[in-house]
Point group: C2
Chain length 231, copies 2
DNA sequence: TAAAATAATTAGTCTTATCTAATTTATGTT
DNA sequence: AACATAAATTAGATAAGACTAATTATTTTA
């Protein structure tokens, strides 16, 4: 018995539960996306959980030294927590490339499958997949893929809403990767690399009038604009 | 709230928990491998679980109409349960081919990773992977891969222990896929297709004296022989 | 067939991860 | 500063899936 548990302990070293991994990833993404301090409520929202559950898990992650949390500065990943979170994101984005390029999925189908695949825990899997895919730099949504050494290329941060009327840009990446957003983009004929000109900002509700690939004007919401990262 | 649960219900339709899937697979494999009736104890052993836990789960699977269980005839998969179990096995074996052929893993490394990958639940994933791999018939351990329509090619069933002294055969598949067994095979220079001659059966403990690829004699145990499927 | 051994089951406990409801702590506004 | 609102936390409940220990059935074997 004692022996059996020792064994389990050894083979599980460095591995986390599905939930723990999802919390790490969520905290990492919040840290990337916003400059605000990361609160239990924000994490709860991003995971679709109750804040009370988040507080419990934060305690657990603190015990495991994956995060540090105090009310003043909010939640922060430890060196180890950051390393683990980056690896999960790396796996997610590599699997997305695989699903699109090798299995022929569309870009609005791959996110949810990659959410499952990213938790496969073999030590060399990510690196082998990386090599198999010929070391892609970006995933199909334009997000940079963290390197094997843990380095993360700087993600795009300027959005459509940052443009001034008359400016032209190219779509570099999308922030929201839900299928509803991506299908909307499909309908508008927008993909990575598409040229967009901001024609006008409607001051009433910050709607954006844009021209896609030089074609006739279309109006989109502020929320839409915030989810288009540009070059 | 009510709305949210309805949504969950819809997208989860036809999906099972990790545990449920592992029980289904285990029952399926026991049914394939032996003609004995499938008992809670046998399932417990195959999963490394306590029989009490198995009884609990059998109740649950019965409620979901995935199995039928009575003491007389043991556990049997329902039509639905069989369909689901076959799909899991299909996914497992396809992923094994992928890991070996595309990612360069060795045959003693792939089983455990495929145990995780087989639970990825997207509806079209198995078929896409199948196509990507060019519809392989056997996995790297020689096990037949169930077809998209649910048909399962007949697995090999004759083992080394069924031979008579002097008989020659070729290795068609292995029953045990643990890395300890596969590494042992590697050391003996045995793979799928290797020619083996049974030189002598030791009646004391049913050890087998064999000649591998025509080379000098080696002695292996009965347990070893039972795990080598031949053509 | 009776005793012994084995298998199946029940009852109760534990852990993980979630929830709701209630309470405490912060923040913001007048 | 006092109050109102929002956020964080605690306490207690629940469900899944595992466990141990105790009990009941069923086989074997003498």
């Amino acid at each position: 018995m004692r022996c059996f548990y020792l064994f389990l302990c050894v083979i599980k070293l460095g591995m986390y539960t599905l939930s723990e991994e999802n919390y790490l990833k969520s905290i990492y993404r919040l840290a990337q996306q916003t400059d605000f301090k990361i609160t239990p409520t924000a994490i709860a929202e991003s995971l679709g959980n109750n804040p009370a559950s988040v507080v419990d898990m934060l305690r657990k992650l603190t015990e495991k030294q994956l995060i540090a949390y105090d009310k003043k500065s909010g939640v922060r990943l430890s060196a180890q927590g950051l390393k683990d979170a980056v690896l999960i994101v790396r796996r997610h984005r590599l699997w997305e490339v695989f699903l699109l390029e090798k299995l022929g999925y569309h870009w609005d189908e791959i996110h949810d499958i990659a959410e499952e695949l990213e938790h496969i825990s073999d030590a060399t899997l990510a690196d082998r997949l990386d090599k198999f895919l010929d070391f892609p730099e970006y995933d199909p949504h334009g997000d940079p893929i963290p390197k094997a050494n843990g380095k993360v290329p700087k993600p795009y941060s300027v959005t459509l809403t940052n443009l001034k009327a008359g400016d032209t840009c190219r779509v570099a990446a999308v922030r929201d990767t839900s299928s509803s957003f991506l299908q909307y983009l499909q309908k508008l004929d927008i993909g990575i690399g598409t040229r967009i000109q901001l024609v006008e900002k409607i001051s009433f509700d910050n709607s954006l009038v844009i021209s896609i690939s030089g074609k006739e004007n279309t109006t989109v919401s502020q929320k839409f604009g915030e989810n288009i990262l540009i070059d």
